[in-house]
């Protein structure tokens, strides 16, 4: 390796040496000393090929650097910038521009936050070159031109960001800005200050993204500042504005620490606001922050606290999932835990962690499994029962079973034909989601699916309205957004304005049913307003023999079915309560069959209650049927059997 290095031409040799020196901060934070010493040996070997005076200085100073290896990691980190400064001075003036070249060419871009800080300290400690006046002027002119060119390249990269794009950490961009800052040191203190500020603001903006509203502003201000600098103009106003948009600049805190501070603040705020008479109300923000905080702590080298936070997250999830508050007995332990953790940047006593862990584990809901059904079953679109599964496994099973919904299917909504082609499979998906949401008590998602199924039914009735392509596309996106939340065990919440728009369309479609012939359309037109008044979702599937609707038998069917469905709607309250407690869908989903011209079967898959004899007699009178019976269906649900006069 040494021989290869020695064979390098002079310029590359300098770059190589600087690259080796740049890797030292990274090695300094490693626990072992072998690599550190190895790197120093390589530096020494390179120096042996230089002129004698330089070689002697390097050799003497490398001895000092070797002594750093005997120190602990923290001491080494602290002393390293000073040591590197000495090495740098020892290298002589010819090599002093090499760091600029190295960084401009992208060296050292693997450095993490800590290493970057060490390098920044090292670089800031470097003395500015003071060559002879004449050569300095020409060197500055060349460097200034290079800086302008590099700035234009940065401006091009920034200009390529789409509007509203959040500032992101791109290694190429970071390396260029770092190079600019280094180069600016040779252009004078004013330029050095501007570029140091620019780089610092860029790193902060990318590592600590500001709130949603400020994101676009930050990217825009950064673009404007670089653009003005690339034209050789003053950008102080833009940099000031950028600085104001990033509140963390003033504190100068490390971005990872900021994440910890933000996470622990969120937990403290939750603790203050969540106490009720029944216990501590668990919300989604708490679940999210505790999980995230656990991983940030892990990344920050705090495995004990990370493990504790993970257990806390699991505990909160267990209560949240069962819609129960955390018991008040846990309030004291959570408060103590948060007080002791502080900002999470300092290590915590292992014994304390063990104590809190024990308290948290003792607070686990013991009756949790009893509060939930052991297994659930869902039906496919044809009403067939699918194999049972544990409730916890249901979301994963559904995610696998869905056919069309997870796909990006904008093509479905281009027109009625495309829609009709996909509608049956989409209906199957919606029915599965509705059942899953009901089983998991996600009522907002369940009601939204029921609404979409109503829309699908109204569309199949060929109502005389323009095809609502835009609305359907919005429905698809809204459904996906809610499923995304549900997959992360967050409560799905469809936007109220969107739901209102869909309901409005459904209402107009119901009114337009007046112009549509057929038994289903007539029944829906009469029953849907009533269902809406009662806040019920109504779906009707009809299977009469062709042409029956227009015959006297069809008319009889209509009146009998109407009376029966009105009764179902009117007495649905008690039924809904029992369904809710069993985790079954709330929608009134009815299938009507006419196996013979004067026989009507009404099947309701989600309701198992059989009416008593008196109720049946009253119903028979209302429907005008010769006979009326009700029997349970084999896979669950009930069936009314009417023989018409």
């Amino acid at each position: 390796v040494v021989a290869d290095d020695a064979a390098l031409p002079g310029e590359a040799l300098e770059t190589r040496l600087v690259a080796l020196a740049a890797a030292l901060p990274q090695l300094a934070s490693a626990a072992g000393t072998e690599q550190w010493n190895g790197q120093l040996q390589r530096l020494e070997a390179l120096a042996t090929w230089q002129e004698r005076a330089c070689r002697e200085r390097v050799t003497a100073l490398l001895r000092g650097l070797r002594s750093l290896a005997r120190l602990g990691v923290e001491q080494r980190r602290r002393l390293l910038p000073q040591g590197l400064r000495l090495v740098y001075q020892a290298l002589g003036p010819a090599w002093r521009q090499a760091p600029v070249l190295a960084v401009l060419s992208g060296q050292g871009r693997r450095m993490s936050g800590t290493h970057r800080q060490v390098l920044a300290q090292f670089i800031s400690a470097l003395p500015v070159q003071q060559p002879a006046q004449a050569s300095m002027a020409s060197a500055r002119a060349v460097l200034r031109a290079q800086v302008q060119e590099a700035l234009r390249a940065v401006a091009d990269v920034l200009a390529a960001w789409p509007p509203g794009f959040p500032v992101c950490l791109e290694s190429g961009l970071a390396a260029r800005l770092r190079g600019l800052r280094l180069a600016a040191q040779f252009l004078g203190s004013d330029a050095a200050g501007v570029f140091a500020r620019l780089e610092g603001l860029y790193l902060l903006a990318s590592c600590c993204p500001p709130c949603e509203a400020a994101r676009a502003d930050v990217a825009r201000l950064l673009q404007q500042a670089v653009w003005r600098l690339s034209l050789g103009r003053d950008a102080a106003r833009e940099l000031d504005a950028l600085s104001a948009a990033l509140p963390c600049v003033a504190r100068g805190a490390d971005s990872a620490d900021l994440e910890l501070v933000a996470g622990f603040s969120a937990l403290r705020q939750w603790l203050q606001e969540s106490a009720t008479d029944d216990g501590l109300a668990v919300n989604e923000a708490l679940l999210f922050e505790s999980l995230r905080l656990a991983w940030v702590l892990e990344a920050q080298g705090q495995p004990l606290l990370a493990g504790l936070l993970r257990v806390f997250h699991e505990l909160c999830s267990a209560y949240w999932y069962r819609c129960l508050p955390l018991p008040l007995t846990l309030q004291a332990v959570v408060r103590e835990l948060l007080e002791a953790c502080g900002t999470g940047t300092e290590p915590v006593e292992p014994l304390c962690v063990a104590g809190w862990l024990s308290e948290l584990l003792a607070g686990w809901p013991p009756e949790a499994q009893l509060a939930l059904p052991a297994s659930v079953q869902v039906r496919d679109a044809e009403g067939r029962l699918l194999p049972p599964c544990r409730l916890e496994d249901l979301p994963a099973r559904l995610a696998e079973a869905l056919g069309l919904v997870p796909e990006a299917g904008a093509a479905w909504y281009l027109g009625p034909e495309q829609w009709q082609a996909q509608a049956p499979e989409l209906e199957r998906d919606l029915i599965l989601i509705e059942q899953g949401a009901a089983a998991l008590r996600l009522s907002a998602l369940e009601r939204y699916c029921a609404l979409l199924l109503e829309v699908r039914q109204l569309l199949s009735c060929a109502v005389n309205l323009p095809f609502p392509a835009g609305l359907l596309r919005q429905c698809h996106e809204a459904l996906l957004a809610q499923l995304d939340r549900a997959a992360q065990w967050l409560e799905p919440r469809p936007a109220e304005a969107h739901v209102a728009a869909v309901q409005d369309w459904a209402q107009r479609a119901t009114a337009a049913l007046a112009e549509t012939a057929g038994l289903q359309a007539r029944l829906l037109q009469v029953l849907r307003p009533a269902a809406r008044l009662l806040d019920r979702s109504l779906r009707l599937r009809l299977n009469p023999p062709p042409g029956v609707a227009e015959t006297p038998a069809g008319e009889q069917c209509f009146h009998a079915a109407l009376a029966l469905l009105r009764w179902l709607l009117a007495c649905s309250d008690a039924d809904m309560r029992s369904r809710r407690s069993s985790g079954l869908p709330q929608a009134l989903d009815v299938a009507l069959h006419c196996p013979e011209p004067r026989r009507l079967l009404l099947e309701e898959p989600w309701s198992g209650r059989l009416p008593d004899t008196a109720e049946l007699r009253r119903l028979q009178r209302k429907t005008g049927a010769l006979s009326l019976t009700c029997h349970p269906l084999p896979g669950g649900g009930r069936c009314f059997d009417l023989l018409l006069a």
Binding site: W161, P162, S171, G172, A256, F288, E298, P406, A487
Partner: protein, 120 residues
Amino acid sequence: VKGWIIEDSAALAAGLCVLLEDCGVPVAGVCPGTPPSGAVDMEDLVLVSLQLRDGGAFRLLRDLRARDLQRSVAICSSGREAECRWAERAGAQLVLQRPVTRAVLEQALARLGQEEARGC
């Protein structure tokens, strides 16, 4: 091949950067949201954290799929199967569970390579 990291936590992103580069994949950028469309090539590797603060990780995976990106890997923090399956449905070629180690990432890269070879 270059790598993109979609993660809005600087601490977690830094760890992934080091891992990716240790596996020989240079990191092109770290973003808290969708990377700029022109910057990402079809063969680029994109690591997407499912625990983004705005909750848009699945939407982002669908966007990447719509852009025909062949190598998107989701990183799941919660360990819940439903989240992993949904990420796959959203377009993730692979889903890795945290903590992601070098060995896990190397295996994932090898598997992506095998799947691509099989696809060819």
